[in-house]
Symmetry: C2
Subunit: 211 residues, 2 copies
DNA sequence: ATTTACAGAACGATCGTTCGTTCAGAAGAC
DNA sequence: GTCTTCTGAACGAACGATCGTTCTGTAAAT
């Protein structure tokens, strides 16, 4: 029975960052689970679905993960880690000007969501399928990324470079623009990922009333 | 086992628009299902969970809906209908100026997502849990709402009132700002729903480079 | 008397997980 | 260099629980 599905996830394989997941069968499990969880959601994809796609028996998965929830937890944690590293790295390389810092953050944020659409979807939609204990590492990472964004907005305001009507609402809007990329952006369209990132940078600077 | 959960959904009852769902037990089922589907997702909430919250036996639900999927389908359809009616009504009342039209659309869009956060979440996250046939009515409504937004952006560009770097990306960003409201906005905060809508209107006009 | 809304029991299917086993390959003993 | 031991990954069967749904009966309302 066919389901509707975001158009941006056309790629046959779900992209998992090279740094994440380890190697061998363990990594294969994470890659296929990423694909299935993104398409069917955590509760909608069964261990047997996952095993079938891997051409393994369901029981074989338990040699690599202690439960289905632990597979999701690792995806969600790794996704948040890659995102935070990307945003933080861009920020550190951006110098002291809040406008440059904001450009760097938005660019990194957009690149992540355009480059890893499956991971972005799973990270954002399935985190709350985890018990608090398993979600905690990802929640902590998310808090850091949010704080970076809020701090740059606030610093820009304090320095007179940004003049948004409402700082928190602006920060939320900036985050939202990136978060939704996997649901509409088609990487094979006329707008590639790099161009999209630059367009979002431009939109954000306009929103903030920057130079 | 506690799960993480959007902060904006603090309200005890999940709000369902008065126009939607009918009356009596049928409406109660939709209200409680809305609450559960928003919190646990469609696959994560069982018929027995739903019946327990309603203080009914599972079998009693089938006097009102022919399947679990039909409950979700009705929520998703009604949600899209209320959203489209709201946006279209605002647009029709706005006159011919694209700036006024955009203000009206963004205001209606934001009000919907702030006023019906549970419904907005279910509409956006659980639509793809439905087989194409059951999703079709909602998909058709969604297409109309998207077209309204895109048309207003395009008309504003043609008339020289908007100058976004990329029309489609701008339209997506505008939609995204509203869609994410249920995940962060706390209606009991200093920023109420009406103020939030005005802030988003302001952000959007800046983005579009309008007057 | 018919219809409606529910209860209660039960259906087969599928869920996540565990069990005992097999088998290939590495490590160590002789 | 051969034999033995151990380890890790995988299979196939099975577990109890829960899934969505259906059936039968009943009590109240029309």
């Amino acid at each position: 029975m066919p389901r509707t599905f975001p158009s941006g996830l056309t790629s046959k394989k779900a992209l998992l960052p090279p740094s994440a997941g380890g190697d061998g069968t363990r990594r294969r499990i994470l890659e296929v689970a990423l694909q299935l969880f993104a398409r069917d959601s955590f509760h909608g994809a069964s261990i047997r679905d996952l095993a079938r796609a891997l051409e393994l028996q369901p029981s074989a998965l338990y040699a690599h993960f202690s439960s289905k929830e632990h597979v999701l937890a690792e995806l969600v944690r790794a996704g948040h880690e890659v995102h935070l590293d990307s945003v933080r790295g861009a920020l550190l390389a951006a110098g002291a000007d809040p406008v440059d810092q904001m450009k760097a953050i938005v660019r990194a944020h957009a690149r992540f969501h355009a480059g890893y659409p499956h991971l972005a979807i799973v990270v954002n939609e399935e985190l709350h399928a985890l018990p608090a204990e398993l979600a905690a590492p990802a929640v902590a990472l998310r808090g850091q990324a949010t704080a970076l964004m809020v701090d740059v907005v606030q610093r820009g305001i304090d320095m007179g470079r940004f003049k948004p009507t409402h700082a928190a609402a602006a920060a939320a809007a900036i985050g939202a623009m990136g978060l939704r990329i996997p649901y509409w952006h088609d990487p094979s369209s006329d707008l590639d990922s790099e161009q999209l990132a630059e367009v979002q940078v431009d939109l954000v600077l306009r929103m903030l009333g920057g130079a």
